[in-house]
Symmetry: C2
Subunit: 290 residues, 2 copies
């Protein structure tokens, strides 16, 4: 089964638990709406790619790790889109969750997705005791305080913000979690895998900044030009289009170089390069060296 189908199946299995009989119908519907159809599923693909490079000796644990990371990503999108944050009406080419289901259900959808992520880990990684503790800890660190997604978002409410701290927490942490969780799910020491995730997280942030400046809403599925509107730092604005594209290319190659020694390193390198190509629409990557 290819990774795309593995990920959709794992997510479908996870969401089915939250929709079980007795669930409030609108909440259950909103949870599925927030998860399907997805974007490129970049983070869970990265998680599975690392797990496979490390041997993937417990595929249920890897599936659970990949699904948990995507569920947490979806939760963060639902909460970020709320009126008190980005007040975004469109996400993944359709109305954002609070527009479709109202603010109370959207807030609870995010909460339920966070909980579901940890429940999914417990269900999928229960047989490998040490792995479950590692996975819960690594994944929690990527989404809570002091340095996960919630902390990243909270920097927007501080008078003084360190830009790299902000971006590392808001975007980088979940990429780093994808690589370390992939390794932990396969029973491999996770920490050497953090740098790969951090490189790719920064690359993704640069790509996101480029899309915000250079794409149309129809291409990216959400409003563009937001950074300028909201006065946020943007790599393309800081470095210029050409400079930001070169930075992205540099980070993608750096990512290849920091992959730790492992049985599937060569395949993983090819996968990482292919993945980073997906960060941007083809018309923008035409300028990148092959």
């Amino acid at each position: 089964m290819d990774d795309g189908r593995r990920i959709e199946r794992a997510l479908d299995n996870a969401v089915a638990y939250a929709e079980a009989p007795g669930a409030p119908p609108r909440l259950a519907e909103a949870i599925r709406y927030a998860v399907f159809p997805g974007g490129h599923r970049i983070r869970p693909r990265l998680c599975l790619a690392v797990a496979r490079a490390c041997g993937d000796d417990d595929p249920r644990a890897s599936d659970a790790a990949a699904a948990a990371i995507e569920l947490l990503h979806c939760a963060s999108l639902v909460h970020d889109d709320l009126p008190c944050f980005d007040d975004a009406a469109v996400r993944r080419q359709k109305p954002s969750v609070h527009v479709a289901y109202g603010e109370p259900v959207a807030l609870l959808t995010g909460d339920a997705l966070i909980v579901l992520a940890f429940e999914t880990l417990a269900r999928g990684a229960a047989r490998s005791s040490g792995r479950l503790a590692a996975l819960v800890g690594l994944v929690a660190r990527a989404v809570g305080s002091p340095a996960g997604i919630a902390a990243g978002q909270a920097w927007e409410s501080e008078p003084c913000v360190g830009l790299s701290q902000y971006q590392q927490a808001k975007t980088g942490a979940l990429f780093a979690a994808a690589t370390v969780a992939g390794a932990a799910a396969a029973g491999v020491e996770p920490l050497p895998w953090r740098l790969l995730g951090e490189c790719l997280g920064e690359a993704y942030q640069v790509a996101d900044d480029l899309r915000d400046v250079a794409c149309r809403q129809e291409e990216v599925g959400k409003p563009v030009g937001r950074d300028a509107t909201l006065g946020r730092p943007n790599a393309a604005a800081l470095l210029g289009m050409e400079g930001a594209l070169r930075r992205l290319e540099h980070l993608a190659h750096e990512a290849i170089e920091v992959i730790p020694p492992c049985p599937g390193a060569e395949t993983l390198k090819a996968e990482v390069l292919a993945q980073t190509r997906l960060f941007l629409p083809a018309r923008l990557t035409a300028g990148l060296a092959a």
Copy 2:
């Protein structure tokens, strides 16, 4: 060390992780503000009482379970108080989190507390492999969808609501989690302990209804008369004060009867009776048989 100190210490240890260097200062402050000073800590006390009745052979796991349950309770209070739900300005005798720190930080505080609860479990129960998986699963079920706190709150957004389903999810689920998690933390089969938690959860709901009708804001630390204002069902309104007090007494005695056989059953019975006394101010319980 008595249970009260055990609980405060476990919560302090947990919160310290979320405040570690690098955390956004206002988020870190809001997380501590949401957890301290607490209320009666009824749920973690119940969790520890059950763990002790079952032998409490891994106190770090019991502490983690108790702390996780209280962190999730605090998270639910922060989110419930938000303008899109109860819009409550006061909680535990002080401004609610969104009044003190603004809506964005309050929302993220709730998210971070949910994450911290699971992180705390992973840290405290890592050595007992099967126990961690059980604890994460049992606790997650109490707060997510289909039947946890998020689901309970979501019933308020549904056109048709089953009252018992609503109350069971919104209040009962976390009480049930307190008892089953206490048993699981001590390595005992958790499911026979669910009924005790369910009885106490229903008793607590009746007491909460009584306080809403019969207490002043200064006595309970939050606004009263909310059920009538918001058109919500209330046991004291339905059964009368006398009827609701009798129902509470009945549930407290039923709870005693459903305690499963265990080494510390007699002590636990006394503790449960003492706990249920705390559900109401003394002037209201004067009418209850001793």
